[in-house]
């Protein structure tokens, strides 16, 4: 008699299929448990569906929640803390083996992990080396000044879309703020209390947006979104656009999608000249075990979580996706067997480099804000207004910060009396 339990995840498309593969591997590896893995088609819908299901008492045993949903989960009281789960089921985990940068994002103030880091990423800068050569750009764009120069040359060489960007705030606002050591919100981006307030309308981010705006007006940077018919990644892989910033998770997909022989490369996100680069934020998602399931399922869940954390599985996962290994031993093992020197995987080590560039600071530890899904949406809309409808940058950001703060206040009020631990 096998115990069945459910696992919901947000990844879709190619990455989603890799998750299915992982589930199959687990099921094949033993006969006591059967994991049923279901894609909810996106990180935000996974969070929504998890909440809805929890309210309906139909929650899965494990759910994949992205970085932005961390605080929503933490305060929900709807989960079994990772450490407790493993201890209860007799697994001993070396919690310190997780990369500090990664663990910090998901851990409590006391440093305890509530969820399992699973697919971790960070934002990277991708560029088309062939195009660079054609346009006579012979440097790797480390700074935004260089990006601008490259863009101008590309444009001059007849490339209509030197750089593509969309309104995803993750690279543009969150990662930018981290590597430039800019706060997103007070209280250490929320880590020190529910009464944090957004401040991005007063940081370098504003200049950054202004810069993007200027570039966009000169048609050097071009908006590419799903709504417009093509998002940034397909814009890059179809060689419509020559530079993009996106997750390292897409590294595998991009490699597969670009035609054979096209030369391209990946780098850490550029910084403004003269900036002391800080570590970037860890992205991706972690796995939460939800409360209220039968005991037997927790056994299975623990077994699964243990299984995917084994070095072989971690390596496999990082190989087939672009995600970075989340444990030090995993990373070391891969590094030592020369993984990052091999052709299709070359460059992925920059992600680790970016993540561990400096020790984490108040501004780079992570983001611990309630209702952050909604706040991201507000900013995305603001960017849309700025780039599509010529809204005034400062005014729009001020307004959005105010709207975001309203979300934070409501969250604070909803969880009145609770404190961050």
């Amino acid at each position: 008699e096998t115990t069945k339990f459910e696992f919901w995840y947000g990844l879709s498309g190619d990455l989603g299929e890799r998750v299915q593969e992982a589930c199959k591997k687990f099921n094949d590896s033993q006969s006591e448990f059967e994991i049923v893995c279901t894609s909810q088609n996106g990180y935000d819908t996974t969070l929504q569906n998890t909440i809805a299901a929890y309210r309906a008492k139909k929650q899965p045993a494990i759910t994949q929640i992205y970085d932005a949903g961390t605080l929503d989960m933490m305060l929900s009281g709807a989960f079994v803390p990772a450490k407790k789960l493993m201890a209860d089921n007799g697994y001993t985990i070396d919690w310190s083996n997780y990369f500090g940068g990664i663990a910090n994002y998901y851990a409590t103030a006391g440093g305890e992990l509530n969820s399992f880091p699973f697919n971790s990423s960070t934002a990277m800068f991708y560029y088309n080396v062939d195009a660079f050569q054609k346009a006579g750009v012979d440097f790797k764009p480390d700074t935004w000044e260089q990006v601008e120069e490259a863009a101008r040359k590309l444009k001059a060489a007849g490339f209509e879309c030197p750089l593509a960007f969309n309104f995803d705030t993750w690279p543009l606002m969150e990662q930018f703020s981290a590597i430039h050591n800019q706060p997103i919100a007070t209280k250490a981006n929320g880590y020190q209390g529910l009464d944090a307030e957004l401040v991005v309308n007063k940081t370098k981010f504003v200049d950054h947006v202004n810069f993007f705006k200027k570039m966009a007006d000169e048609r050097l940077f071009v908006v590419k979104t799903k709504q417009l018919g093509m998002d940034t990644v397909p814009a890059f892989t179809s060689q419509t656009c020559q530079m993009i910033q996106t997750s390292i998770a897409d590294h595998g997909t991009i490699g597969k999608s670009l035609p054979e022989g096209v030369k391209w490369d990946v780098a850490m996100l550029p910084v403004w000249k003269g900036t002391e680069r800080q570590n970037s934020l860890v992205g991706g998602a972690s796995l939460w075990v939800l409360a209220g399931r039968p005991e037997a399922e927790y056994k299975g869940a623990a077994a699964f979580l243990n299984y995917i954390a084994t070095p072989e599985m971690a390596e496999w996962w990082s190989t087939v996706t672009g995600y970075i290994p989340v444990t030090k031993t995993g990373f070391d093992a891969m590094k030592s067997n020369g993984f990052y020197d091999k052709a299709p995987y070359k460059g992925r080590e920059f992600a680790i480099q970016s993540l561990s560039f400096t020790p984490t600071s108040e501004n780079t530890r992570g983001i611990r804000l309630g209702g952050f899904t909604q706040i991201r949406k507000e900013f995305a809309t603001a960017l849309e207004a700025i780039f599509m409808q010529n809204a005034d940058v400062q005014a729009e950001l001020d307004k959005t910060v105010e709207r975001g703060n309203a979300v934070l206040r409501r969250f604070e009020k909803t969880y009145a009396g609770q404190t961050l631990n």
Partner: protein, 296 residues
Amino acid sequence: MDKRAAFRSWWLPSLFALPQIILILLFFYWPAVAVLRWAFTLEPPFGGTAEFVGLANFKEVFADPLYWNSVGVSLAFALCGTLATIFIGLVLALAVDRQLPGSAPFRFLYILPYAIAGPAAGMAFRFILSPERGLMASVNAAFPDFWNPAKYGSHALILVIVVFAWKWAGYTFIFLLAGLQSVPRSLIEAAAMDGCGPIRRAVDIQIPMLAPTLFFLLVIMMTEGFVGADTYGIVARTTDGGPNHGTDVMVYRIVEEAFRGLNYSGASAQSLVLIGLIMIFTFIQFRFIERQVHYK
């Protein structure tokens, strides 16, 4: 309008109505109570004890310019969508009603879009009216950004209205054609004897005679546009409420607010306002306007 009721039992009709009544109580009135409850409390996303907050949710909703934006968008959507469907339906009905040779198949064809789900239609129109492929690409090649619903809120609104109108024009057409056919033929003939040509007859006789049907459709379509099953689907699958809230109709906002924003309370407050609006609307329909347009 009441029938001379024939049977005199009280338990039998109660028994007959019971299944539906139970369903309605469970899935209609109970949720309505919940909406009411949530609108005055702060409901934590994962459930649990909700705190009574009085009118705070309403204050928040009303203070939000984006809420008023969505009211405006909904109004524009419902109004333009309604007028467009009725206009198209009317023109087509007037044409088909003339019963010129060969007009019969059109009558059948025009109703077909009604069968299509709003979201499916929306998806198809995303292609058909996409700025860089399909029909508009050629136009855009000549005049860049002539048509770009991803960029301009107004274009996006037009796009969803087009989908709405496409889906419902055949529906209004059916009603209007039936309405036209119930205009006594002798009335048309009388007008012909009085010296009118077909167009003048349409304007002077047929359209005024359609007033009850037109009014009925106005109400039905406005309701459909405001809260119809398709409105949400069309917006969700065509523009996602964007760009920049350009197509953020009230139902879309409510669902987004609740399920994406995890703000059940705010969503409930908005639902209540919408419910109120529809009730007022229906009231106006029954009390005031219907009386004026019925000729007996």
